[in-house]
């Protein structure tokens, strides 16, 4: 088949806009470009059933809004948004682009609803985010289903299991893409490209470049399809990198989670109520430093630094009902020694750790909802809050491993979502959106629902700017 069509895609024709990727940013770009009148081809590497990238595991989006509405309980204004972003990134951000993103997120909800998103009315159990974050009814996969339906209705050509492996770029200008589909390689031409294919966190070999063999013990919380292939292509072809390549958002999650795609359910919220030991049965960090939602993201790295990248959270019967139920049942034992055996730890070492911990606990008034005064004394590392002796059987144990959410390395972009090349000149028709460029704004840390904000804002901009380029270019020729 040289120039025939397959699955609705015509390889003989030149598409206006090629979208690489199939998550939130890709769909926002595809929908926007199509609504501007372009012929749009979207190539998604995942099969239909796993389409949607990491967006299928998301649940909410944070956007600027002046007042409450059907799904948000109060206003979220620019300065508060800005302060929140500065706090989580510690100032590691492109300030102009960050300010621009926040402003561009103003009332995003209205656009989303117009394009099929259904928000759920604010209710309990939403991490106290009901004022700042809008929750998708049914979560991110439901949102992706809605966006795909909208894109199809508008006439975007969508091909699944089509992995783009190379881009033809001459003088910083994109002309064609090579993709693998149905066992063969094909080339498709387009006037502009939007790369929205995510980070490289599912590429264990790439992670090993920075983490060594330890990366074999990492669990990837999201899609197995984010292998960073296009990120590598863009960087190799002269795109200017952004973000620390060594950094990734790593959370401590249940070690029994699937290697990929475990998503939200693998999180464990028990750490701050007990002790955490490594495979030698030793504690290694203050479990009660702060509320778990403010600390879970440092624990991924902490566990990654332990031997064999494994740790165990141990609580007793007093704490079992204090946190969200876990997907895997806890390992249960009537004594610390028996727990050690079940976890395959040295019983003597674990017993000693627990005895030392228990005798260092100073009595206080336990309060799970406050930074309470239950502390240890003379213990290294200390436990600063919620320290209660482990003395009430049954004891419960949960194995922990680092769970990688996303990587920070990406390509530099400007406010038009154009990829900036190493000579600091923007590529005229190469655009990027979503996780692949989120590092411009999120240099470190994370803020719930903000990845979706960046994806939606830059997806829409990339879609629009790609069409603007196509129109101007056609006028010129």
């Amino acid at each position: 088949m040289t120039d025939g069509s397959q699955n609705g895609i015509k390889l003989s024709k030149i598409y206006d806009v090629l979208i690489v990727g199939g998550g939130n940013a890709a769909l926002c770009a595809a929908i926007t470009a199509r609504e501007c009148g372009a012929e749009v081809l979207l190539l998604e590497s995942a099969p239909f059933v796993f389409r949607g990238g990491n967006s299928r595991h998301t649940r909410n989006l944070r956007y600027l809004h002046g007042s409450n509405n059907s799904h948000l309980t109060g206003p979220y204004l620019e300065e508060e948004f800005w302060d929140d972003l500065m706090r989580v990134t510690g100032g590691k951000t492109n300030q102009d682009l960050a300010r621009f993103t926040i402003r561009a997120s103003s009332n995003l909800g209205a656009w989303m609803i117009q394009h099929g998103c259904k928000f759920q009315p604010s209710m309990r159990g939403t991490l106290h985010l009901s004022r700042t974050n809008a929750f998708f009814l049914g979560g991110g996969k439901a949102l992706m289903n809605a966006y795909y339906a909208t894109a199809e209705r508008l006439g975007v050509t969508i091909l699944y299991e089509a992995e783009v492996v190379d881009l033809t770029i001459q003088d910083d200008r994109f002309t064609a893409a090579t993709f693998e589909s149905g066992g063969g390689r094909q080339t498709v031409e387009a006037r502009a490209v939007v790369v929205a294919s995510g980070g490289f966190q599912a590429n264990i070999d790439w992670l090993k470049e920075y983490w060594g063999e330890a990366a074999d013990n990492f669990i990837i919380r999201g899609t197995p399809y984010d292998k960073g292939r296009l990120l590598r292509v863009l960087l190799d072809k002269g795109a200017k990198a952004v973000g620390d390549p060594r950094q990734c958002h790593a959370v401590a999650i249940d070690a029994r989670a699937p290697k990929f795609d475990g998503g939200i359910v693998t999180r464990l919220d028990c750490v701050s109520f007990g002790i955490v030991v490594n495979k030698r049965g030793e504690r290694f960090y203050d479990e009660g430093e702060d509320f778990w939602p403010k600390r879970y993201a440092i624990w991924g790295r902490l566990v990654a630094q332990q031997p064999d990248q494994i740790a165990y959270s141990i609580i007793d019967a007093k704490s079992i009902d204090l946190f969200m139920p876990s997907v895997f049942p806890p390992i249960e034992a009537d004594s610390i020694g028996a727990m050690a055996e079940k976890l395959m730890l040295d019983p003597a070492a674990l017993t000693a750790t627990v005895e030392t911990f228990n005798s260092a606990v100073r009595s206080g008034t336990f309060d799970a909802a406050e930074l309470d005064d239950c502390v240890t004394e003379g213990l290294t590392p200390p436990k600063s809050h919620w320290a209660r002796p482990l003395d009430t059987p049954p004891f419960y144990g949960y194995p922990l491993r680092p769970g990688i959410t996303f990587t920070y390395l990406g390509v530099t972009v400007n406010e038009r979502a154009q990829v900036i090349m190493q000579n600091n000149v923007p590529a005229p028709n190469i655009f990027a959106a979503g996780e692949i460029m989120a590092g411009n704004i999120l240099g470190q840390g994370y803020m719930a629902g903000f990845g979706m904000t960046v994806g939606t804002v830059f997806g829409r901009i990339a879609g629009k700017e790609a069409v603007r380029y196509v129109i101007e270019n056609l006028k010129g020729s």
Binding site: V49, F50, G138, K141, D261, M324
Partner: protein, 366 residues
């Protein structure tokens, strides 16, 4: 967990409870969130609270082929079917829920044959195929006692059977006698039933027959429900006309029994027809193949009962009246006999679950 079905329901709800993304769809998820672990009564309650709107299936990041293989609507439908069997009264009838479609069809066919044959046998060929008009015309074909006595006895059996089933399910889901007496909970549950609230999928309808949100199933189901209620009202009014006012059927078109019955019959035709059409289109994945026969048999039976009733109304002044009357009564007989042992029970058990939900929600707010 005492059965494979319960084990699977426990497995899927435990995973679900660690996610909770679907809490905006229906009552099942907020009820799930009140629990950390699930007892058998909890699971049976959640199974009957599920309306199979399927929102959670299409939204699920863990749906097959994900290794967690979450298919909440199917797991709960299978457990629901198990509770139908276990709650049926008398227990000897629980086997009726297996091959239910076939059994319901056979019993209905048998009912029609029996009514026709008995009429022919006792009344003779001439009576059955003659024209009868005016007051008491129906009784000239099938005598008063032959009509009223069997149906009254049957009605009592049906009410007792459904009532016992309700109590059995109420106990099986952990309901207490005290909660059963809560007036406010009954008011809430009745409102939920009348509005068919949980087929609205959080305000956008079910994902039925396919992935798209749609109110169509809710509207068709409403049509069936209110059509059935109109027919019930028609029968009740006719009963009073006959026994208190001593005005036996048939009645003129512009009379309460006929107008109510006519509208109800039309609604049932449209509603059941619509539901059958949707069922034929539906995605089978979030359903259990086990109940397909039961669902279809009941819906078809309702459709044919109303169709035969409407035909009887149209042709009652012709020589076909006798045959149509016998056929219609045969359908009604089949419907009555199978009522406590088929799809009809879903309404009764769903009510029990909605009642328990109303009790829990009130308790939660206090």
């Amino acid at each position: 967990m005492s059965s494979k079905t319960l084990k699977e329901a426990d497995r899927v709800m435990t995973i679900c409870n660690a996610c909770r993304y679907c809490e905006g769809f229906c009552a099942v998820f907020p009820a799930m969130e009140l629990r950390r672990t699930f007892s058998e009564p909890d699971l049976k309650y959640l199974a009957n609270l599920c309306h199979n709107c399927r929102g959670c299936y299409y939204a699920c990041q863990y749906a097959p082929p994900h290794e967690f293989r979450l298919n909440i609507p199917r797991a709960l439908a299978e457990l629901r079917q198990e509770t139908y069997r276990e709650s049926s009264w008398p227990q000897a009838m629980k086997g009726f829920f297996q091959n239910n479609g076939l059994l319901v069809s056979l019993i209905t066919a048998l009912s029609i044959t029996v009514v026709l044959l008995l009429t022919l046998l006792f009344q003779g060929h001439d009576v059955l195929f003659s024209i009868h008009r005016g007051e008491g015309a129906f009784y000239r074909v099938i005598p008063y006692a032959a009509m009223v006595v069997p149906f009254t006895v049957l009605a009592v059996v049906v009410i007792v059977g459904l009532g016992k089933g309700f109590v059995n399910l109420w106990r099986a889901t952990g309901g207490t006698t005290e909660d059963l007496m809560s007036g406010s909970a009954h008011r809430q549950a009745i409102a939920d039933v009348l509005k068919l609230k949980y087929l609205d999928g959080g305000g956008y309808g079910c994902n039925y027959p396919d992935e798209r949100f749609s109110m169509i199933r809710r509207y068709f189901h409403h049509t069936v429900f209110y059509g059935f209620m109109l027919c019930l009202a028609s029968t009740t009014v006719a009963f009073f006309y006959d026994h208190l006012l001593h005005r036996p059927a048939p009645y003129p078109f512009w009379s309460w029994p006929v107008v109510l019955g006519f509208l109800g019959g039309l609604a049932l035709l449209v509603g059941t027809g619509g539901l059958l059409y949707l069922k034929q289109q539906m995605d089978r994945e979030p359903a259990t193949p086990e109940t397909l026969g039961m669902d279809v048999a009941f819906t078809v039976l309702l459709f044919l009962t109303s169709l035969s009733g409407l035909l009887l109304l149209c042709l009652r002044s012709t020589a076909l009246m006798g045959t149509l009357l016998a056929i219609h009564l045969g359908f009604v007989l089949g419907l009555f006999i199978t009522m406590p042992y088929g799809k009809f029970v879903h309404g009764v058990y769903r009510y029990a679950a909605l009642l328990k939900n109303a009790v829990e929600q009130v308790r939660e707010k206090i």
